[in-house]
């Protein structure tokens, strides 16, 4: 693994930003990736680009319950926020790819997303698929969120969080058991878990990675990335907290970490306040 530093790492994130040895981050590739990211030619009907579902104004998510792709087709999952994915170890809600380079070309080919063969996409933009993958991955590596009030607090600025937010942080690590999965600088363990969200009428509406398991999303910028969960089924942070407070949706494969939390109203409010402090600057 090799990385030539040309990105400023914000407070709270690791100085070492991994990149494959055959794709060191360079400013040329970042710039090409940035252009490709917003290029609607990468969809069959020239209507959508990556940025259509990963809007920089919404922390690279889209605000919709489910993603909408070429020809107005509605996908089956919510658009995840592309925050700090350079540190990721698995990608997509079901964690099916292990590198950004493998990940970035798949939405272009997905019928419900951009619906274009890679060869045709390459021809349209005039660069080969490998270059396209390297450039898009390089650009996504530069999408970083840190230096939040939380980061300043844990790095010694003890007034950066108010009392309610500090209570929320305590609950996040303690009674709320949130750090069982949302851990570390990126607030994700990069693992897949069954939280019961996909369990409907005695079966899984979406198997995810199998047995109803989906990847833990980052919580950075969480206040800007509603609606939540892999299916966008929970519209607000309050709904998410209520869902976990009740112990998730019971099913035979429910993760042992998901259990009733017995949070009070004050505690739920504090947790929400803390989560909002994860917006970066």
């Amino acid at each position: 693994m090799l990385f030539f530093l040309s990105v400023v790492i914000p407070l709270g994130l690791d100085l070492y930003l991994p990149a494959p040895e055959d794709n060191p981050v360079t400013s040329d590739k970042i710039e090409l990736g940035r252009r490709l990211f917003s290029d609607t030619r990468l969809s069959r009907d020239n209507s959508v680009s990556c940025a259509s579902c990963h809007d920089p104004e919404r922390a690279f998510s889209d605000g919709r319950r489910l993603a909408v792709g070429a020809f107005g087709r509605v996908g089956r999952r919510n658009s995840p926020a592309l925050i700090n994915r350079g540190y990721g170890r698995s990608f997509f809600w079901d964690g099916r790819t292990r590198t950004l380079e493998d990940q970035v070309l798949l939405p272009i080919q997905d019928r419900n997303e951009m619906d274009l063969r890679v060869e045709e996409a390459s021809a349209r933009v005039g660069i080969d698929s490998r270059q396209m993958a390297h450039a898009l991955a390089s650009f996504i590596r530069t999408i970083l969120s840190g230096n939040s009030r939380y980061d300043r607090f844990v790095n010694g600025e003890r007034s950066a969080l108010n009392e309610e937010e500090q209570l929320g942080l305590q609950l996040f690590r303690g009674k709320g058991n949130c750090t069982a999965c949302h851990v570390g600088p990126t607030f994700t363990d990069e693992q897949v878990h069954n939280t019961g969200v996909a369990w409907r009428n005695g079966t899984f509406a979406d198997e995810g990675a199998g047995l109803g398991r989906f990847k833990t999303p980052t919580l950075r910028e969480i206040a800007r990335t509603a609606p939540y969960m892999h299916d966008g089924s929970l519209g607000s942070l309050d709904e998410v907290l209520e869902y976990y407070n009740s112990g998730g949706r019971k099913n035979p494969w429910l993760d042992a970490e998901v259990r009733p939390l017995h949070l009070t109203e004050v505690e739920k409010k504090a947790l929400t306040a803390f989560l909002k402090a994860l917006n970066g600057s």
């Binding site: 693994m1 090799l2 990385f3 030539f4 530093l5 790492i9 690791d14 100085l15 070492y16 991994p18 540190y87 607090f153 844990v154 790095n155 010694g156 690590r173 303690g174 058991n177 750090t179 069982a180 851990v183 570390g184 600088p185 990126t186 363990d189 042992a256 970490e257």
Partner: protein, 680 residues
């Protein structure tokens, strides 16, 4: 024919005598290092010298050890023995060099080339690092004060670097430490009782004392900052940071400002070692291969965080030792089955060329670092400490049959009997006591054993549920979380019940509730509802707190060496047994309730040498009503003076105990320095 026959007999006699000298030397060493009986050791060393007539190496070695014993006793005889070695053993260069050093005739310690033990005894631990000149090694006084200590290899003396008068009167305790390259400073972790967290401090080192000290890292968000090696220019220290959310990172801390440069988030277990490249531009370290693997790979990260390179990767366990004096990467690896020391050329930012074995019999030691001359200092675990079990008659004080050894190494013991006495569990962990741990369950009727591998990295003191279907233990899971865990005895399924550091103090007889606590408060936890209630407050300085199997009482020891019992449904505690100093009751962590919860067995130590493992000891049977009496059991070979004391089955008819050699030795390894360097 007669003459040659006599020669054969004479030769056989010499061989036999030499073999006997080896045995005597080993006995002497055990007597010195494990039992601490220096006078007896001196006599045995003298015997070994006389038996080793033809073996001058053995004889010189025995004389050195004998002189060291005299030195520890403050006996002037040490000097004359060293003088004798210099005078009579000029063919034994290592021994003569060492003797000269001890006589003050030469300054450097690093004269001898060869692998040799340089320090043995109960004080040896794994928390310090060697100084660049090989003279000093830091460690922690675990027995009496919790102080940061420094051992002087030259003078064989020990000095406290911090000022706790005792555990009770101290402000905290030391942990990992590291001496700067120039030998002028020491960085050390200090657990401050007042804040209940570790700080990283730095102090000026002046010989064997420190003067000014200052805090480098103290942040409520950081649980610990473990120091590894100092940079060659002494401006940075490589650290492993553990945060309060159990996430961990590696990086550097600036010596002048305490500023942290965090390179990389890593698995909570972190590296086993970190070392600067010779030019100080990279830090090399090892990390577990994945969240669920124990084997490590080796990486290097540029000190500005810009580049990370995987240096050594194989399915085997690869652990970094450091950089040799000629600039090669040294690492331990079991890729060829046995753990060996390997060398690979370091090309400034990565390794090149094939690695080569430079020491095949490396084993699994704990690495304390390299000196400027290239000697590698390690601690070896030389224990064969093991769980033994036997039938016992508490009335006659006799064992029924010969104790059986579990033959599990390295064992931690922590045995617990099932309620019906038909199953015994015990725990085995890694060489130096940490995880990963495995639990063994032995069927006492059939003798069959099976391993239970819960999703835990470390197990504290597992306790059988009354129905034998599950166990509770304090411990640490694969995410690094500490707490109380419930383990399914059949499937090993593991569930975190209560997060946090606390102990399991016993089960309620219905198996639906259990008792846990910290600092004296006994809290009942209902497994089905998750509801908890405080049941009783025992003394805050109570230890060995244990709930009786019938769920009616809690027994505990206190600082006044009194065994107390208090009813769980309220009521006043009462004394069952009180001993007067210098005798004291030993903290075995878990007390043995026997005979249907009507009595307890406790360990009494008859002398006051806190912490050390020798000295006379007795077991006492203490009934809830009636008179306590000494059990007529010979426990001289049992380890009953540690946290892992004897555990009697609930009916009092069986006992499990730890026995065997227990100890660690610090070795200076130099034999590999003469091997060819790694190719480029």
């Amino acid at each position: 024919m007669k003459v040659s026959g006599m020669l054969v007999i004479a030769a056989a006699a010499v061989v036999s005598l030499l073999a006997q000298a080896d045995v005597t030397l080993e006995k002497a060493r055990r007597k010195e290092t494990l039992e601490g009986d220096l006078k007896a050791a001196i006599a045995l060393y003298a015997k070994a010298v006389s038996e080793a007539k033809g073996n001058r190496a053995l004889s010189a070695s025995a004389l050195i050890r004998m002189a060291e014993c005299h030195q520890k006793l403050g006996d002037a005889e040490a000097r004359s023995i060293y003088e004798r070695i210099v005078r009579e053993y000029d063919d034994q260069k290592d021994a003569v060099s060492l003797a000269r050093v001890r006589l003050g005739q030469t300054a450097p310690v690093q004269v001898a080339r060869g692998d040799r033990p340089v320090w043995t005894g109960p004080e040896v631990d794994i928390f310090g690092r060697i100084s660049s000149d090989g003279r000093y090694l830091t460690y922690v006084d675990w027995y009496q004060t919790g102080n940061l200590m420094i051992h002087d290899m030259l003078k064989n003396t020990d000095h406290a670097l911090t000022s706790n008068k005792s555990w009770k009167e101290g402000t905290g305790q030391a942990s990992y430490s590291s001496i700067s390259r120039d030998g002028k400073h020491v960085a050390y972790e200090w657990f401050r009782n007042e804040t209940s967290r570790y700080e990283l401090l730095i102090a000026q080192l002046e010989g064997t004392s420190i003067s000014t000290q200052r805090v480098l890292v103290s942040n409520p968000e950081i649980r610990s900052a473990r120091p590894f090696e100092w940079s060659p220019d002494n401006k940075w220290i490589a650290v492993h940071i553990t945060r309060v959310d159990n996430s961990t990172q590696i990086g550097l801390v600036g010596v002048d400002t305490g500023a942290l440069k965090i390179f990389r988030s890593v698995d909570w277990r972190g590296p086993s070692n970190m070392a600067f490249s010779p030019d100080g531009k990279f830090v090399a370290y090892d990390l577990p291969q994945s969240d669920t693997e124990s084997n490590h790979d080796i990486f290097a990260t540029a000190v500005d965080g810009s580049v990370t390179t995987k240096l050594v990767a194989s399915p085997a366990d690869d652990l970094i030792a450091g950089f040799s004096s000629d600039g090669n990467l040294l690492f331990a690896s079991n890729r060829n089955r046995d753990m060996a020391l390997w060398s690979q050329h370091w090309a400034g930012s990565k390794t090149t060329g094939p690695p080569v074995v430079i020491k095949s019999d490396f084993g699994y030691p704990w690495i304390h670092g390299l000196t400027s001359t290239g000697a590698l200092y390690v601690t070896k675990n030389v224990s064969d400490w093991d769980v033994h079990f036997a039938g016992v008659d508490l009335d006659t004080g006799k064992l029924r049959g010969t104790p059986v050894a579990a033959q599990r190494f390295p064992s931690r013991g922590r045995a617990d009997w099932s309620a019906d006495g038909k199953q015994l569990l015990y725990v085995d962990c890694s060489q130096f006591g940490g995880g990963p741990c495995v639990m063994t369950v032995r069927n006492m009727e059939t003798g069959q054993t099976r391993e239970v591998r819960p999703a835990l990295h470390y197990m504290g003191f597992p306790r059988w549920s009354p129905d034998g279907r599950s166990m509770l233990t304090n411990g640490r899971d694969l995410k690094g979380r500490q707490g109380v865990f419930l383990i399914d005895a059949a499937t090993a399924d593991t569930r975190l019940i209560i997060p946090g550091r606390m102990a399991v103090w016993g089960w309620a007889p219905d198996g639906k509730r259990f008792y846990y606590g910290l600092r004296g408060k006994v809290t009942e936890w209902d497994l089905e509802s998750g509801k908890q209630r405080d049941v009783i407050q025992v003394r805050t300085d109570a230890y060995s707190v244990t709930v009786s199997p019938d769920g009616r009482y809690v027994a505990y020891l206190d600082q006044e060496s009194t065994l107390n019992v208090a009813p769980l449904d309220g009521g006043q505690p009462r004394e069952l047994l009180k001993v007067e100093r210098p005798e004291h009751l030993v903290n075995n962590v878990v007390l043995s309730w026997v005979r249907d919860s009507s009595a307890l067995v406790v360990t009494k130590r008859l002398t006051a040498q806190p912490g050390h493992l020798g000295g006379p000891r007795e077991l006492w049977l203490v009934p809830l009503s009636g008179t306590a009496r000494k059990l007529d059991l010979d426990v001289s070979n049992w380890d009953v003076l540690s946290a892992v004391g004897p555990r009697f089955s609930p009916d009092g008819k069986q006992v499990a105990f730890m026995a065997g050699k227990r100890g660690m030795e610090v070795w200076a390894l130099e034999s590999f320095l003469n091997r060819p360097a790694a190719g480029r």
